[in-house]
Amino acid sequence: MKRTVPLIITFFVGIILIIAMFVPHDPFYGLDSKFSIFYDVIAVFAFILGGGNLLKVHFYKIQNRRRDWKYSIVTVSGFFLMLGAGLLKIGVPGGWSGDYQADGSLFKYLYDAAFQPLQATMFSLLAFFVASASYRAFRAKTREATILLVAAFVILLRPTPLGYYLTFWLPKPLQFLHIPNLSTWIMSVPNMAGQRAIMIGIALGIVSTSLRLMLGIERSYLGTEGKG
């Protein structure tokens, strides 16, 4: 029963929404937006579920002294600190009626002084790893690797003055080889073609997965087999 009811709901909702897409008349008209409202409501509850899951996973790690369990203490402490600062409106000018993100609030202070620099630092580290990885990986080992290397080279040089001065002198018939022009061509022709192919592939994959879900062939979203 635990598995049959969700399967029936999935099938009927899927069929109704497909019909609503192709039959824009009552009683199907506007059904997709009504279902979207349900989705939005559920999405809000997902935050509670997400928070609960985060605590469950990290409390388990701390309790059983799993690998890197000390970091879990930081995660859980950070979670409760931010939650408490926001919910209790600590330091908010105007007390309970004030905005939890207002200037002077603990939440804003923690966000600006801890969360923001931490996120920025994590993302900034990418520059170092990209540099190291491109030095090691971009080698002309094969024909395909050489094409990738040349494309990366042109794209990297595009915003630099060197990219301009290396090829600006080219005569008009060869101006398509001027690095800024070549870079634009790479992005808007081979890149676009590749991206379109990937997108079409993904779309076909979504269609087939949706059909599998609706027909009950794909059941992994219901949880582990045999526990229904």
Partner: protein, 292 residues
């Protein structure tokens, strides 16, 4: 002996300790920041197209700007938000700030504090601009907004009923907007605004994304997307276009151009390392062939 010594040098050059790579990148980023090295980036067609769209719209047009990013990508996305807002308000358009990301409202607040309140003090809240804040639901939210905007947004970010605000009078669905600009760095973002609002609602969509996301959006240009800014470079290109038409912003609208300096030098260092890596690789390859 000399040959052996050469091998050692080439081997060393081919496998430089990554700490030296990190050090050089750090130097390449820090020095341009100290000396304020800037570089003008001429506007590409795809950025110019977005600029022209905002420039050509009649004053009073309604532009929805979505902040779908967080502090991690602020250096790339925030200059885009600043430049586009500056341009829109200069042209007399009305702007509506929303967010699909929970971290978005803090970024839009920065825009308000740094640009709107400082450079456009005469613009009135609720008449020229409004801060609507974040709502959960990702693409589901966009889908709902497309058919009924007021189902999800009943108040602004401070809890004031939107019915009392003049600029919300004509807003009932996303179709009432003249342009949607999605500034993002992942999911949900510009792509979702195109797929769930632009295409089904026939609403012009433009945007700006981080450099790593930019190639994914090219397939939507120009038919499904009026134009977009790819990474910091895209933002710098928009600033260039803005200053060209409105020179009075030359001193204010330059954050992307300024921060492009370190990016340019970092790119050059990476290019240098790629060249070095390949030279040593080719020499080693030739040597191996010779002694085979």
């Amino acid at each position: 002996m000399a040959d052996r010594q050469e091998v050692t040098i080439i081997e060393r050059l081919g496998t430089v300790d990554r700490r030296y790579v990190f050090l050089l990148i750090a130097v390449a980023v820090i020095i341009p920041l100290i000396v304020h090295y800037t570089t003008a980036i001429p506007t590409s067609a795809i950025v110019q197209s977005l600029f022209d769209k905002i420039e050509s719209m009649p004053p009073g047009s309604k532009i929805l700007i979505s902040f779908d990013y967080g502090p991690s990508t602020e250096p790339e996305n925030q200059p885009m938000a600043n430049a586009v807002t500056r341009h829109a308000l200069e042209k007399g358009h009305r702007i509506y700030l929303v967010a699909l990301w929970a971290t978005g409202p803090r970024q839009s607040q920065k825009l308000i504090d740094d640009v709107i309140k400082v450079e456009f003090p005469d613009k009135v809240y609720g008449v020229d601009w409004i801060h609507l804040g974040y709502k959960a639901g990702n693409q589901g939210l966009i889908n709902t907004l497309l058919s009924d905007f007021r189902t999800m947004y009943t108040t602004d970010i401070s809890g004031n009923a939107i019915d009392g605000l003049p600029m919300m009078k004509d807003i009932h669905t996303l179709r009432d907007f003249d342009l949607i600009i999605g500034l993002g760095s992942g999911f949900p973002g510009t792509k979702e605004w195109i797929q769930f609002a632009g295409d089904p609602g026939d609403i012009p969509v433009g945007g700006g994304t981080t450099a790593v996301m930019a190639p994914l959006l090219y397939p939507y240009y120009p038919k499904q997307m009026v134009g977009f800014m790819g990474g910091l470079q895209g933002a710098a290109e928009y600033e260039y276009a803005l200053v060209k038409i409105y020179p009075k912003y030359a001193m204010r609208s330059r954050i992307a151009s300024t921060t492009m300096g370190p990016q340019v030098t970092a790119h050059l260092v990476i290019v240098g390392f790629i060249i070095l890596g390949n030279i040593t690789f080719l020499i080693e390859k030739r040597r191996k062939r010779k002694y085979r």
